[in-house]
């Protein structure tokens, strides 16, 4: 892969096992991805104040933010819920983006929340059927963000273990159309794609050939594990070899790619170790061709990653 990109950074998705790692190696990352939902207690829609910030997490993030950009990866919006569009949550997410000057923020193309009077949560991201009515619903919700944010809003392709029959659009068509209509970008989770391709028997490369990769702003990389005859998106261990191959395929074609993020479950920290995490970071960096200058705040790459920050 010969494309040299100085505007694509490499980061890690924060989990609580990483505090010591960050104190030693934050300078080896171009940005830190953070699940903001881990930084607050949500007391519920009827409570005021609804969101209680967790001081320990905020202190850490404020400290990180002085050194590196923070990108936000939400898990609680459930943007595809037909019955719920939680504008207070969305507003809170956007305030976080502003507070940290995030270069972009993302959520999942899925739902987990149903019910208004008595809300229920599935405990997992549930896929939506790729139909035109879902596309319509989602487009207006994405525009809620794109009209208000000064940074890109991305949606992540979901992992799914069952498949809805008779969908009106393929996943690639759905994502292409959604980006075109709403102005959102794609967070392309290559491990999700790999997992789906293995479990449902399709070619991940064919998928990528049909996806408009110019919409891809961020890529996620992860490991997984077998369970009940399926490959699962467990985020255990290092990035799998076939996922690296997919990154090699995507990197030169995704002309607007700005970040490659390694994510792992906190239970894998001991297994990976600091060297193992850095190995994933450096391999990703080599693939996207970033020249890793000394990334002091304000240096080239950090500045470019921050471009468009809120």
């Amino acid at each position: 892969m010969s494309t040299a990109r100085r505007d694509t950074g490499v980061g890690v998705l924060f989990n609580p096992s990483m505090q010591q790692f960050l104190s030693h190696y934050l300078h080896r990352l171009d940005y830190l991805a953070v699940i903001p939902d881990r930084g607050w207690i949500d007391h519920g829609k009827d409570r005021s104040p609804r969101f209680q910030l967790l001081p320990g997490v905020m202190t850490l993030l404020d400290c990180v933010a002085r050194e590196r950009p923070i990108v936000l990866h939400g898990i609680g919006l459930s943007i595809c819920s037909a019955e719920i569009f939680d504008k207070a949550y969305a507003q809170n997410l956007m305030e976080w983006a502003e507070r940290f000057g995030s270069p972009w923020i993302s959520e999942h193309l899925s739902f987990s929340r149903v019910g208004t009077a008595h809300e229920l949560n599935a405990g997992i991201m549930v896929p939506v059927p790729y139909d035109r009515d879902v596309l319509e619903l989602l487009s207006s919700r994405v525009r809620f963000f794109t009209d208000r944010l000064n940074c890109p809003f991305l949606l992540e392709n979901n992992v799914y273990y069952f498949d809805y029959p008779q969908q009106e659009l393929s996943e690639e068509e759905f994502l292409n159309e959604l980006c075109h209509r709403s102005g959102c970008g794609v967070l392309l989770d290559l491990h999700n794609l790999y997992t789906n391709s293995v479990n449902h028997g399709f070619s991940a490369i064919d998928f990528l050939d049909h996806l408009d990769l110019a919409n891809v702003t961020e890529v996620h990389l992860a490991g997984g594990a077998p369970m009940m005859g399926y490959h699962t998106d467990s985020h255990t261990g290092p990035v799998l070899e076939p996922v690296w191959v997919l990154l090699e395929h995507v990197a030169p074609l995704a002309t607007n790619l700005r970040g490659v993020t390694f994510e792992f479950h906190e239970s894998s920290y001991a297994h990976l170790g600091e060297d193992g995490i850095l190995e994933q970071v450096e391999r990703a960096r080599a693939i996207v061709g970033v020249c890793h200058a000394s990334l002091e705040p304000g240096s080239d790459v950090a500045a470019v990653v921050s471009t468009g920050g809120c």
């Binding site: 229920l120 599935a122 405990g123 997992i124 009515d133």
Partner: protein
């Protein structure tokens, strides 16, 4: 309304695998309460027959169970073979109501407490270890909301914590028949480290 109802049915299926089993048997009854189009009905009938639905439901349950086992690892070790049945019962009785799954630990603790009070969980060391882990959970919550150098709680052990806690912290059962007595102890949480000192 239809898409809402469809999503409600998929979440109900996710949280209630026995509903999928009923549907697989061919009964339309479980879907009667949902306002569904014929395509949505066909989709639900199709997905319950895909093996992946079991993985999906198991992962959902795993995400919920992770919070419980993180809060009550030693209690789970002591529950051993009863744990699966207890988690089944928990999942039937309680369904998560928010995206942070914040009520799971409290609801599981309430179930364990009810079972212990009813004499359905008579397991050596369970009462004191459960009380200890409840105290630890309380300390973690306090520290989370208001980080200070140290928070403490008092716990009354009936067996020496020096004999009980080391094996359980390695997820092993302590030896049976430890000498009973009164062992009041102070539990300290400093940073992420718990310390237990006998009083």
């Amino acid at each position: 309304m239809s898409l809402q109802s469809f999503q409600q049915a998929v979440v109900d299926l996710t949280l209630s695998p026995w509903m999928a089993q009923e549907l697989r048997k061919g009964g339309a009854v479980p879907l009667a309460e949902y306002d569904l189009t014929s395509r949505e009905r066909a989709r639900l009938s199709n997905i319950v027959n895909q093996p992946g639905i079991s993985v999906h439901c198991s992962l959902s349950r795993g995400n919920r169970f992770e919070l419980i086992v993180n809060a009550f690892p030693m209690t789970c070790v002591l529950l051993r073979r009863l744990l699966r049945r207890l988690v089944d019962e928990f999942c039937r009785q309680y369904r998560p109501t928010n995206y942070q799954l914040s009520g799971e630990q409290t609801a599981f603790a309430a179930l364990v407490r009810r079972k212990m009070a009813a004499g359905e969980l008579v397991i050596e060391y369970l009462d004191e270890i459960f009380a200890y882990e409840m105290a630890c959970l309380g300390l973690v919550e306090r520290m989370r909301s208001d980080p200070i150098d140290e928070v403490t709680a008092l716990v009354e052990f009936e067996h020496s914590p020096d004999d009980l806690l080391p094996p359980l912290s390695q997820l092993k059962l302590p030896p049976s028949g430890l000498r009973a007595g009164s062992y009041p102890a102070r539990v300290r949480l400093q940073g992420e480290l718990f310390k237990v000192e006998l009083l």
